[in-house]
Amino acid sequence: MAAGVAAWLPFARAAAIGWMPVANCPMPLAPADKNKRQDELIILNVSGRRFQTWRTTLERYPDTLLGSTEKEFFFNEDTKEYFFDRDPEVFRCVLNFYRTGKLHYPRYECISAYDDELAFYGILPEIIGDCCYEEYKDRKRENAERLMDDNDSENNQESLPSLSFRQTMWRAFENPHTSTLALVFYYVTGFFIAVSVITNVVETVPCGTVPGNKELPCGERYAVAFFCLDTACVMIFTVEYLLRLFAAPSRYRFIRSVMSIIDVVAIMPYYIGLVMTNNEDVSGAFVTLRVFRVFRIFKFSRHSQGLRILGYTLKSCASELGFLLFSLTMAIIIFATVMFYAEKGSSASKFTSIPASFWYTIVTMTTLGYGDMVPKTIAGKIFGSICSLSGVLVIALPVPVIVSNFSRIYHQNQRADKRRAQKKARLARIRVAKTGSSNAYLHSKRNGLLNEALELTGSPEDEHLTKTTSLIESQHHHLLHCLEKTTNHEFIDEQMFEQNCMESSMQNYPSTRSPSLSSHPGLTTSCCSRRSKKTTHLPNSNLPATRLRSMQELSTIHIQGSEQPSLTTSRSSLNLKADDVLRPNCKGSQITTAIISIPTPPALTPEGESRPPPSSPGSTTNIPPIGSNIVKVSAL
């Protein structure tokens, strides 16, 4: 029931009076209107713009946000209004939907922003009115195509290590840029297609005479050479086709696809010719078959995107082309008939029958005008001129539609290519922003710790330093800090990590490996227990202070993995993925946070000392005496 007529419900109920006297059974009880409050105005404040409407207007659609009790969550007690922190422009459309029952889509609005707003207010986009639905659907389709495009190209560039041989082959065929072998194959096939087409063409060129004054085409003069060339090309094409057939994920679908049909049609004539060489009767048919060799030129469409676009355009404009054909046929028949009867009287006219006049009509309507058939009577000339004028019109009408379709598809492709090209730059910029934010955390950890340390020492004049980060930032950093505590690992940045990995791979202690492994757990526990011991007997705030001190000396993490190769792989994977800064990814490593104390700020708590010699400055090359198993974590 549309919203607009909800106001007429009392009328509909009143009209039921006509049924009452007729009814034989008693009527059911009417629903009681419990809170029969008067209709009141409610104020909706959307980002400062105030909208007002009747409460009952909103209640017309009880399964949306504004129509249900969900809006009570947004009620602001102080100002007695409902406050929504959303876009007021789109809200205008939403509110009009409640008022009129029709949802409109404004053209200037971004489609995804609009969708988000509709989702927020709990309105299904399907109820957009007919007036705006086309526009909405078009924009949505474009957006979805673009997203799919992006996803496709993303998927193409991911290196999935777990593809089978068949799948890799198929990917190589579809996308030649994946490997050099695929590229070579691509160019080789392209070359052979060109060779094949050129041989077909040159075969028919007259190539010098034979005694007997007969002009011989090259194909017959150098029959053997041409035959060899043809064989070679067909061999290559056959091999290519079989390989594609083998690699296709769905063979049935591959066989039915256009490109595979073209492939088959291109190589069939050769094989049929092999079979039929000795039979004279069917040589005529054989000659016909040779025509199909020209289909090889369509194989180029795998190599040229422009051709593919053209083919796609023609396919998508099929209806316009059909219309063009139909209207042309109608016009041809009409004018041919008229010309035939007009020219019937004149002597020696070429318009011998209506089908014979078809040729004149076609030639005239397409403005070719060969002049092999011309009308001689006055009537014929008049109708002939009308024919040529209308021909121009009929052909000119559907052409812009086809052109605009082609243009749209072509530009879409251009945009997709450009997007792909710029994608790398875009991703790099995004990565910088991301590392920027994680660096912010590491940076602020330093500063934050410093600030807390200073606070502890009771220097009130430095308190203003604590206010440098905003509340949100500090809460975010606190969250990351909690994560560190939970997992007993710490965040460092990328260069540090790589450095450490490299160093630890250089520090090769094979002799001490076994004892190290056995004592690893012990060491870990001792380190951790020490650390945790520290937390028990020290107030928590001191721990960061000590870590801060160690950081000031730039101690590094030595993360020693039990297997060296895994380090390198994990490192390389770090390089590839931009978002791996946060988690040191070395496998099989046990990270113990051994805090190396640096006694530089004197006034700080002395218990911050950790296991290795407190006096030694925490330089990166500080090798603790206990062996290689120490994992020093930089308190970044």
Partner: protein, 230 residues
């Protein structure tokens, strides 16, 4: 010059094209018969405004606020201020999606359109509603009798009742339980006349109608349903 057959046609075509070219130059003003259609459009967009709120308050039994609410709903659906039959049927059909309510809507329209001018204005609308929702039981029964009496001659015949009954059953649509039979309306009319037609003369007059209704408990109770509609 001896013009024959196709040559004649060709010459006529040329003349027609010539006339068209002259029209383009504005030298030839053809007489067009299409202006009158546009005048009609003007009439239908004329707005009708109801009388003032005070007058309506006097004429009906609604309070001021109720009238305001009613008018807002009315104006929303019919911005021009009047409802014609098509509109009326379309609005009413939105409440009964399963069946065909157009016949009953027509009867309703005729009942609301008291001055029979083919359109229901807000005054008519609110006058009818006032009787149904705020009138006495007798007023309501009167109104119902008026609805049933299709030709407004003061008698309900069996044919009129059958039409009404069929229109009510039409609103149910096809998918009912138990399935609607062809004879159901007729049977219902028979039972109605059994109850209402006192002197068995084949028609029901207003007195018979009111009397029989007042004797029927169910009808009396159902008439009270309308007290709380608005």
């Amino acid at each position: 010059m001896n013009l024959e057959g196709l040559e004649m046609v060709a010459v006529l075509v040329v003349l027609a094209l010539f006339v068209k070219v002259l029209e383009q130059f504005g030298l030839f003003e053809p007489v067009s018969l299409e202006d009158s259609v546009e005048d009609e459009f003007e009439l239908s967009t004329v707005c009708h405004r109801p009388e003032g709120l005070e007058q309506l308050q006097e004429q009906t039994k609604f309070t001021r606020k109720e009238l305001q609410v009613l008018y807002r709903g009315f104006k929303n659906e019919c911005p021009s201020g009047i409802v014609n039959e098509e509109n009326f049927k379309q609005i009413y059909s939105q409440f009964f999606p399963q069946g065909d309510s157009s016949t009953y809507a027509t009867f309703l329209f005729n009942a609301f359109d008291t001055n029979h001018d083919g359109s229901v204005s807000f005054e008519d609308f609110v006058a009818g509603l006032s009787v149904i929702l705020r009138g006495t039981i007798d007023d309501r029964l009167n109104w119902a009798f008026n609805l049933y009496d299709l030709n407004k001659d003061g008698f309900i015949t069996k044919e009129e009742m059958l039409d009404i009954m069929k229109s009510i059953y039409d609103m149910m649509g096809k998918y009912t339980y138990p399935a609607l039979r062809e004879e159901a309306p007729r049977e219902h009319v028979e039972s109605f006349f059994q109850k209402m037609d006192r002197n068995k003369d084949g028609v029901v007059t207003i007195e018979e109608f009111i009397e029989s209704c007042q004797k029927d408990e169910n009808i009396m109770r159902s008439m009270q349903l309308f007290d709380n509609v608005i």
